[in-house]
């Protein structure tokens, strides 16, 4: 069930409506049942896999807590994490087994996300940051929470469990979902055909490689942040506020700044559970320890998406950028202190350089082969033909579609800069219940009509989300 499908929105509306009717004692059980219904609709076999992993982790955490402080507790936690990583690797590697249609039924939905949730939960209990969950139902609801199962954001168990039982917030939820749908359908899906064409014909086209280099990151951002918006909005309907995943990533002026703004819930997760333990272990090894920790961490980020050379190189390239960034940080800071008048120029140059480095790494992420990626990077600034010439080959109105996507992307950046949603959220709906509910109903109606018009004009939701496969 794609987040942009009518099926999903229908399911979400019914689930959110019934959530308001259930007794206050059962929110966790309700969320658990709704999540497994959602899960079974996509992959019934995957539901068994997630249930097994949940029971295993729940028991393992309780067991390790009972033996707290002993070497057996460490053994339990380490072997459980090894098993969970093996479980994740199994599904990541099975796509290479040559078998017709094997991936469609065997890889559980969102396995990369919930495996990470389970691993961090075990470590948090082991490190004494939280008590092991005593009640199974809320814990299982946390693991399978359907708004976050497709593509995160990766919420920590403590944060999620403390919010269970909160009443849903309808209007902020609907607005966030609408924002996500608009980003996906108006921006990402309008940029996708040109980007797909360029990457699909990287070595046979005669111009337009810049689209693969510069526009693909914009498409990915619109696409992936739309998924997060819908996930956060849907979570609000059930009283759960998920963590933010993006903070205007393309305004970053250094690579480390970029990683504090891009896929934040994953970066923070790896920072806490991979980078920090590694860095603690290598803290007396000087710069070599720093570079080694960064490299392992960034390769882990790359390979988390899938076991391919492209993802591996994406991680390696970012490790290189981040190492240079970290090792030169002090010198750069001293320089800008010495010459404060250079600051504006430094910010502009830093922003330009960071954006180009981000684009460069993302070519490896997207290209089918490494040689395609290198070819595209090598030709990115050649044959900078006009828009109409570049996008003409793939359909009569493709130029118009591309232009709509690009123009609306500009609007997206403006909206994220000035945040009109903030003053919308502060606009309190006063008045009697029937008035409030008529406002909600008319908002939904207006959005539904807009959504239907969008679907009709674009010929249906045919582009799956980029991040829905991880």
């Amino acid at each position: 069930m794609s987040f942009t499908s009518v099926d999903f929105l229908f399911f979400l509306a019914i689930a959110a409506f019934l959530f308001r009717l259930i007794p206050a004692r059962w929110p966790a059980a309700y969320i658990l049942v709704a999540s497994y219904i959602f899960y079974c609709a996509s992959s019934p076999r995957g539901a068994i896999a997630i249930a097994l992993a949940t029971v295993f982790t729940f028991a393992s955490a309780l067991w390790s807590q009972r033996l707290k402080g002993s070497s057996r507790a460490t053994l339990i936690v380490v072997s459980s994490i090894v098993l969970l990583v093996a479980y994740l690797m199994f599904f990541k590697l099975i796509v290479f087994v040559p078998h017709e249609g094997v991936t469609s039924w065997i890889v559980p939905l969102g396995v990369s996300y919930y495996s990470f949730k389970l691993i961090s939960y075990l470590l948090d209990v082991y490190w004494g940051k939280m008590e092991a969950a005593k009640r199974f139902v809320p814990f299982a609801a946390y693991v399978a929470f359907f708004p976050q199962i497709v593509a995160g954001p990766i919420q920590r168990s403590e944060d999620f469990l403390s919010q269970i039982g909160n009443a849903g917030t309808i209007l902020p939820g609907i607005l966030r979902i609408a924002w996500g749908l608009a980003k996906k359908l108006i921006i990402a899906d309008h940029l996708a055909p040109a980007v797909n064409y360029v990457f699909g014909h990287a070595t046979s086209i005669h111009g337009g490689w810049w689209i693969g280099f510069y526009i693909w990151p914009l498409q990915l951002y619109a696409d992936f942040s739309a998924l997060t918006d819908i996930a956060i909005g849907a979570g609000r309907l059930f009283g759960v506020e998920g963590p933010e995943n993006f903070n205007r990533p393309f305004t970053a002026t250094t690579i480390s700044d970029y990683w504090r703004r891009w896929h934040m819930s994953l970066t923070n997760w790896l920072g806490d559970y991979v980078f920090t333990p590694l860095r603690m272990a290598t803290r007396n090894a000087g710069n070599a320890g720093l570079v080694a920790s960064l490299t392992i961490n960034m390769i882990a980020i790359g390979l988390w998406h899938g076991i391919t050379w492209g993802y591996f190189l994406f991680g390696v390239v970012h490790a290189l950028f981040l190492s240079v960034d970290a090792l030169s940080q002090r010198a750069r800071k001293r320089l800008s202190k010495k010459h404060p008048q250079w600051e504006p120029a430094r910010d502009v140059l830093g922003w330009l350089l960071t954006f180009h480095l981000v684009c460069l790494a993302l070519v490896f992420f997207r290209a089918s082969t490494v040689s395609d990626a290198l070819y595209l990077i090598g030709h990115a600034w050649t044959h900078l033909t006009f828009l109409s010439d570049v996008v003409q080959p793939f359909g009569s109105n493709s130029g118009r579609i591309f232009a709509i996507g690009l123009a609306c992307y500009g609007l997206l950046e403006l909206c994220e800069r000035y945040r009109p949603d903030r003053w919308l959220a502060h606009a309190r709906v006063a008045g009697p219940r029937y008035l409030r509910w008529s406002l909600y109903a008319s908002t939904v109606l207006v959005l539904a009509i807009g959504f239907a018009l969008l679907l009709a004009s674009s010929g249906g939701p045919k582009n799956p989300f980029v991040y829905a496969v991880f």
């Binding site: 490190w127 920072g271 806490d272 920090t276 860095r279 803290r283 001293r334």
Partner: protein, 79 residues
């Protein structure tokens, strides 16, 4: 002792973040200090370990919520 710890810690912060005007407060968090991220956090921890002659574990380092927690941890470890 807490006050003395705070003074010594201030000079470590000023050195690690290369900012002589930096003054620490117990309620201060990573959001309040420019450049305080997971990278510089370990530099800070290593500098604290060296100055106070203590050793921290990963769980202690990831469990810190603010500067006050760090001061309390240092005092506990060096007591």
């Amino acid at each position: 002792m807490a006050q003395q710890t705070e003074q010594r810690l201030t000079s470590i912060f000023q050195d690690v973040f290369d900012d002589d005007s930096l003054q620490i407060r117990p309620e201060m968090t990573a959001d309040d200090v420019e450049d305080w991220d997971s990278l510089t956090h370990i530099n800070l921890i290593t500098a604290v370990e060296r100055e106070f002659k203590v050793k921290f574990t990963t769980s202690e380092v990831t469990g810190l919520k603010n500067v006050g927690d760090l001061i309390a941890l240092i005092n506990k470890k060096s007591a």
